[in-house]
Symmetry: C2
Subunit: 240 residues, 2 copies
């Protein structure tokens, strides 16, 4: 892992860009941190890890006391897109414009993404936990599909907050039953394109006994800001 | 309003019993409070206002900085039960034991309770807000049926947290559409006797645009303690 740049932000947060082989990432943490608990932020939808709302969340959690890391998933952000990625996106656009069902296209796109992204997250976790300023334990926050697989296969992740707005492949809907760590599940009640009942069924399916659903009004991008605080406090109860 | 006793508790909370005409109540607040925001706690199910879990919640919120008041609703706690109350309870027991439907019995019991309790809460509010140590604004926390009516008719109540575990009469399910204040709605996912879909439909029906659902695992009495903190913080955003 190589740090490629660093910036001292005015909220007392140190922001560092890093590269781990071909994986680009960003790490935010309090300037003064020693042995900070770590939160991994997973995102999706072609978003760059530097998307402004994601960065604002990361900075707030870092100012709260966490080390927060985001990486660009394969084919996302500044990483090259394969021909297969480009084809899937084109198929998706065409189907959406034609008003055709998109579930199978999402399945063919997000399923393999989970398979490729999870080993990268685990390698990133190895590298981050070797830094003296990061202590663990580790939480995961963000995209549900990647998060479910990580929660099931990665014993160093002890709590997770999932955002219900996003496609979850069949494999992860099944794996949800195997989750045992505390979960916070964030739902936008009128999320366009993400059926509410699917999300409620998934919440019901999680195997863990310690799970909380937070649902708020509005569409996909309308999660109220106070949920960032709630997430920090949720992790505060579990990352000790 | 007459204060009939007071007790200095070890968490810095002053607990005072009061009586307003025939209504008995308890007021908890920080010893040092001046102009504290007020939270009314409504309860049900024949519970005494001094039920231990309710008292623990009230004390925690008082230690957080609120004035917290509970009164015994008509026929509840230390108040006399009318022949009609006793008959309704007997009917309910018999129907439950026989495995018969209980909705109409609840309707005939809770509907009139709301009609009787809400004017008492408003009179209590008048009396409490005349105390110099209580400033307002005012929040309501607890039983949904009484809370919906209060939220709709009482302009001094600016935010409310409702517990989904309890019967809501037809009139209040309709009135829910008229709510406009910020709401926090607390649901126990496997609440015995309170169908989950009813609660989700009610959450959907609230007219206010600023509403949040918190759902946790377990039965009626299993709400995790951290929801008291979350409630205090919810009111902290709105009682200013």
């Amino acid at each position: 892992m190589r740090f490629t740049s660093e910036q001292h932000l005015d909220d007392g947060v140190l922001e560092r860009e890093f590269a781990l082989d071909e994986i680009p990432g960003t790490l935010w943490m309090p300037e003064s941190a020693a042995s900070a608990p770590l939160i991994l932020i997973g995102h999706n939808g072609g978003l760059h890890r530097r998307e402004p709302r994601l960065v604002a969340r990361a900075r707030q959690s870092a100012a709260y006391g966490y080390a927060v890391a985001a990486i660009d998933a394969p084919g996302h952000g500044e990483r090259p897109r394969s021909t297969v990625d480009e084809q899937a996106r084109a198929d998706l656009r065409r189907a959406m414009q034609a008003g055709e069902p998109v579930d199978e296209i999402f399945e063919s796109f997000v399923g393999p993404l989970v398979e490729r992204a999870v080993p990268e997250w685990r390698a990133t976790l190895d590298a981050l936990l070797s830094l003296p300023e990061i202590g663990g334990p580790v939480g995961y926050s963000g995209m549900t599909a990647i998060g479910i697989r990580l929660a099931v296969v990665e014993p160093r992740i002890v709590a997770a907050a999932f955002f219900a707005g996003g496609f979850v492949p069949r494999a992860q809907r099944e794996e949800a039953r195997q989750t045992t760590i505390p979960l916070l599940f964030l739902l936008q009640w009128d999320d366009e394109g993400n059926p509410r009942q699917w999300a409620l069924d998934l919440f019901d399916a999680f195997g863990t006994k310690e799970k909380t659903l937070h649902a708020n009004m509005g569409g996909h991008a309308g999660t109220p800001w106070f949920e960032v605080d709630d997430g920090d406090r949720f992790f505060g109860r579990h990352l000790k």
